[in-house]
Symmetry: C2
Subunit: 356 residues, 2 copies
């Protein structure tokens, strides 16, 4: 049996193919940088079709999306319908995730596009429930662009927000990520030679530069376009960070730039910690287990959870595998499809799964 | 006699041609949106050459720049030399402004590019000294992209920062403006239906949308590209502001969006007020006169100065004319050239000047 989960973001497309045969269960995980606002919706659609066709054949396909939010669409409604059209071009019958973590038909999705817009967090919450069926758990998924915090109480998702606005309000969605975040959206000042210095509001440097310079990510992890379109060497990342305070590497030395990076990193952790504490406050939870996933699983989600006083932190990467963590909702969707085909997706089953 | 001042920014190019004949002095002011990071440096250079050639003949030309900071250049040094080459293509002999408000030769500029990089504020300071020769005055220039605060003490510029980094540190430069500022660089949360809601870190809406929706600017003032490349109707601006909290005009009504705009405006005023208070604190000035100029002269610079407790606020637009205010440093440079040609640029002379 082969099941395919797809998470179609506006910047990154993720696919998780799980194949189960002869008692062996294997995951094939794919991430591809497809910036829809740059390449346009037509090329985006064709690239997604290619990804799906390359993974065929499969028995079931389920899709979730956040790409509908992109500027290339006038409204979420238009975006959802476009994504559904793209998938409909590749297979006759498929499932769509809704915000209640149900798999619904494309027709149902078209009738209520706002029920499936940006629903990918619900798959992640479902997965956290499967891994921690007896516990209160926060799933903290730190991706290239955004962070989702999904509270799950003994297998039931107890999120307050069902759309992006509500999630932004309640701390369940934070627009901060490992690679693409403009550092001007994280900080308004950074220390330079001892003085807190305002930064430029242009898009001169991104969080990827911060994490590359600090060694949190490697060059090959920096899989998106840089702020200035130049390369992903440490030197080029440093030049971008220097430019964020209107400097260059003639005016600032490496130590100056590392200080800037450390400060932005710390402030980014605070963004996530604040949201975690906000979510806990609504639920009146004193504590929770934490499941971290996404590109920033180890150095953002885990660190922010520890800052927030949560001590039982597990990463999906260590529990299952890196591909499961980096494709998060797509992987979870594939697991939902397995369950639909009467595979019992227990904690033990998940822990036995290995990456191809 | 005809003198031409040029202020070459990375987003906007401004030219001020002053012609004096038969006792009549007239200003011809030009602003053109030329985003160097989009159109590339070659097309930028050709467009600047066209602007200059269309204004010929003139007796003197002086140039200042901020475009050297753009991403299209690896360093400020490279950017300065590029700009000097562009002007050298249009006329044999010209002047370049340095950060001490001197007009130096192109050769001197090439020998010390960091002395002429982003020096345009010095021309504005010089002008403020001419208009208020007996006073302590802050010139507050709020442009499309940035705000400069230049302290002038009885005709002498007393700024602490001589380059962008220092100015950002000392509050003399704030990266906030009327049109191009990403609202995610002004606020991290906005009120939505009573709840402070996080905003997206993408470039979904800019300060131009805020000021258009609030009626601070008219459609024809919105002379730069919008965040999503769509139009400058109030409806389209509202859609962009809704998207900043991942909403659209199906999820949010006009009143919701106006509340968001009012909040961002208020926080932008605080950015400028904070910087004004910071500049005053270094100088130990209890008070100062304020000269406001730029696109945001009336609704940002003036309002922020009043918030900071400064009561004697005059706008260059009302004292001289709109063209002088909207081209600020370019106009001031032209006045410096007049003085070089032995015209006494007194307060009375300036007040007698009229726009073409």
């Amino acid at each position: 049996m082969r099941v395919l989960g797809l998470d179609l973001g506006g910047a990154n497309v993720k696919a998780a193919l799980i194949s189960a045969s002869n008692g062996q269960v294997k995951l094939h995980a794919i991430r591809r940088y497809l910036p829809i606002w740059k390449i346009g919706k037509e090329r985006y659609g064709r690239s997604v079709e290619e990804v799906v066709q390359n993974l065929a054949p499969f028995d079931e396909l389920a899709v979730t999306m956040t790409a509908e939010l992109s500027d290339v669409f006038q409204s979420k409604r238009e975006g959802v319908n476009f994504i559904l059209d793209v998938i409909a071009n590749t297979c006759e019958h498929f499932h769509v995730l809704d915000v209640k973590a149900n798999l619904i038909t494309p027709e149902e999705a078209r009738n209520g596009p706002l029920n499936v817009a940006s629903a990918n967090w619900a798959a992640t919450g479902w997965l956290a429930g499967k891994l921690f069926p007896e516990d209160r758990v926060l799933a903290v998924d730190v991706g290239s662009t955004t962070t989702s915090i999904i509270p799950v109480d003994r297998g039931s998702i107890v999120a307050e927000g069902l759309n992006d606005i509500e999630k932004l309000a309640y701390g369940e969605l934070v627009y901060t990520g490992v690679l693409r975040t403009n550092i001007a959206a994280i900080v308004d000042k950074v220390p330079v030679k001892g003085i807190l210095t305002r930064i430029s509001a242009e898009f001169f440097a991104s969080s990827g530069d911060v994490h590359l310079v600090l060694g949190n990510i490697k060059q090959e992890d920096y899989s998106v376009e840089t702020a200035n379109g130049r390369g992903v060497s440490v030197e080029e990342a440093m030049a971008r960070l220097a430019r964020a305070v209107c400097g260059d590497l003639e005016l600032l030395c490496r130590e100056d730039v590392i200080s800037i990076a450390r400060y932005v990193y710390e402030r980014q952790l605070l963004q996530v910690e604040e949201a975690i504490l906000q979510v806990l406050s609504r639920l009146k939870w004193r504590s929770a287990k934490v499941l971290t996933l996404g590109l920033g699983s180890k150095f953002i989600a885990r660190e922010a959870a520890l800052k927030a006083g949560l001590r039982e932190v597990s990463s999906l990467e260590d529990m299952v595998c890196r591909g499961a963590s980096s494709t998060g909702p797509a992987f979870a969707l594939a697991c939902m499809l397995l369950e639909k085909r009467s595979v019992s997706v227990s904690r033990d089953f998940l822990l036995s799964l290995r990456e191809d």
